[in-house]
């Protein structure tokens, strides 16, 4: 049975390990396509157009904003970054799932523009664990750590806007949970109604 692909939005507070989980998931589910962002920043050595980013001029990017061609966008240190809707739409129409890894505020913008996506929130195993991950290299001041922890806790309160939560206690377990969520979403009853209606028509004609 041919199905449309699903957009899975993977989000969570800074330090929770979104990138690590995504890399591990890529290896385990090579059939999934990762959303490619558009940006106005200069390509770095080795970066490939359409693979790492869609590189745009400032004018092109502003035109995309005006045409509502982005699922979300933000400006960061003088450059635009955003998620082109077209790439996602075309991939889903081809029957492939797309994963979009994004911070919490961006995910909420995607939800407004693409409410049918599956929103997954990555949670730390505990606040202590998150603090350790944020403290990381030990180069941050106590003030910065406190601010980041407060932001993380505020963001965790936005869990209510998400469909699923996955605790990132262990990378294999977290990947297995995300994979399960994707498979389960493909098994939702609504997706099978045409299949069953088709069977009914077949037997009535027989």
């Amino acid at each position: 049975m041919e199905q449309m692909g699903l957009l899975i939005v993977l989000s969570g507070p800074a330090g929770v390990g979104k990138g690590t989980v995504c890399t591990a998931l890529r290896a385990r589910m090579p059939e999934i396509v990762y959303s490619v962002s558009a940006t106005t920043r200069q390509p770095r050595q080795g970066e490939v157009e359409g693979v790492n980013y869609f590189f745009k001029t400032r004018e092109q990017f502003q035109d995309m904003i005006a045409r509502d061609a982005l699922l979300e966008h933000a400006e960061y240190v003088g450059n635009y970054y955003g998620t082109p809707r077209d790439f996602v739409d075309r991939t889903l129409a081809g029957g492939k799932d797309v994963i979009l890894e994004i911070e919490v505020q961006g995910a909420l913008k995607v939800k407004k523009n693409f409410p049918e996506a599956i929103f997954v929130f990555l949670l730390p195993p505990s606040l202590d664990e998150l603090k350790q991950r944020i403290t990381g290299r030990g180069t941050e001041t106590q003030d910065i750590i406190d601010t980041r922890m407060n932001v993380a806790v505020e963001e965790m309160n936005l869990l209510s806007h998400y469909d699923y939560a996955v605790i990132n206690d262990e990378i294999d377990a977290a990947c297995d949970r995300i994979r399960s969520i994707i498979i389960a979403e493909h098994c939702r009853r609504e997706r099978f109604m045409p299949y069953v209606t088709g069977m009914k028509t077949t037997i009535e004609k027989a």
Copy 2:
């Protein structure tokens, strides 16, 4: 994080392979508890009370019906069969998931009495495949096969009352889908709201 267990109701038309899938799932997910039915029929050689069935007298069973102690029940060739609510409730409260394998009409009764259960419908890969499975040993008349096929197609139209559909094309794939549904349901955001609220309280007190 300690969670309540989930009741998973696995159903589908006769011939679709519910029993085979359940047996395979048991081997793959030994942590899941299978619902034990109550019955008024006599125990057979080797059957153990509380393992194969809860054996009841007709009076005891009728008393359970009157007390609303069954999630569903039916009479079949002069004997009562039913699903005791108490066994399910106690197992879920202990944090274990319960699987209930049941035909379609029984599942709809369970839905009335236990709407928070997860309802999974097992579908045949095709009508031809279902016909082959129903024809089976080749001892059935054409009339009986036609009737069963019509019942199966009518039952498949009741898919709209279920949460998920799983095509039983290959036993390993079907088991993996059901396992994924169970894991995904444990990741539903609602189940994590207390966890997040707890974190917020911790940091505010700090």
